[in-house]
Amino acid sequence: AQSVTQPDIHITVSEGASLELRCNYSYGATPYLFWYVQSPGQGLQLLLKYFSGDTLVQGIKGFEAEFKRSQSSFNLRKPSVHWSDAAEYFCAVRTASKLTFGTGTRLQVTL
């Protein structure tokens, strides 16, 4: 069965610093991969997605992610974090009709 691992439960970065959130997946074939962001008490918003093609994908709000098949990873990056980026971030993998999420990484941004 497919699975998603986000090894970092909580990350704190300073505003203006770079960010990388880790995601590893387990799936036999090439997966469809996603990153979502959730503000407190809200639903999830899609940041970006990877289906095929260029392994570096650009998303909204200045985020990007890189698919590395050899490492089964899909890490999320942002060159310069803004205080408004503080939220919880979820990596997800789609197989057939199911969308499986990781346990999330809570991002705190210090000023």
């Binding site: 986000q6 439960i9 469809y32 996603f34 979502y36 008490g41 809200q42 639903g43 999830l44 918003q45 899609l46 997605k49 289906f51 979820f90 789609r94 009709s97 199911k98 969308l99 499986t100 999420f101 990781g102 346990t103 999330g104």
Partner: protein, 110 residues
């Protein structure tokens, strides 16, 4: 454009009472529909998904059930709530790509 409506936003229910959460989608047809539960520190747990009317797949055995009486309506139910049913419930829809989420229902069982 497509929209998803989920209600109520918050709900406080006594143990042993029934539950009905409703989710509807507009602007698309024959979507895949999902119910997720989010508990603190446990990410999003897929409860049910449906690929068509009357077709429900259950991911986690529990005292919850789901129904899809119409193409764009997805209902989460329970006959008797448990304390452990407390959490944040999210409905989502998708085709065979990404999923789009409602704003969620915060359920507190007391």
């Amino acid at each position: 454009s497509q929209t998803i409506h989920q209600w109520p936003a918050t709900l406080v229910q006594p143990v042993g009472s029934p539950l009905s959460l409703e989710c509807t989608v507009e602007g698309t047809s024959n979507p895949n529909l999902y119910w997720y539960r989010q508990a603190a520190g446990r990410g999003l747990q897929l409860l049910f998904y449906s690929v068509g009317i009357g077709q429900i797949s259950s991911e986690v055995p529990q005292n919850l059930s789901a129904s899809r009486p119409q193409d764009r309506q997805f209902i989460l139910s329970s006959k008797k709530l448990l304390l452990s049913d407390s959490g944040f419930y999210l409905c989502a829809w998708g085709k065979n790509t990404e999923a789009f989420f409602g704003q969620g229902t915060r359920l507190t069982v007391v």
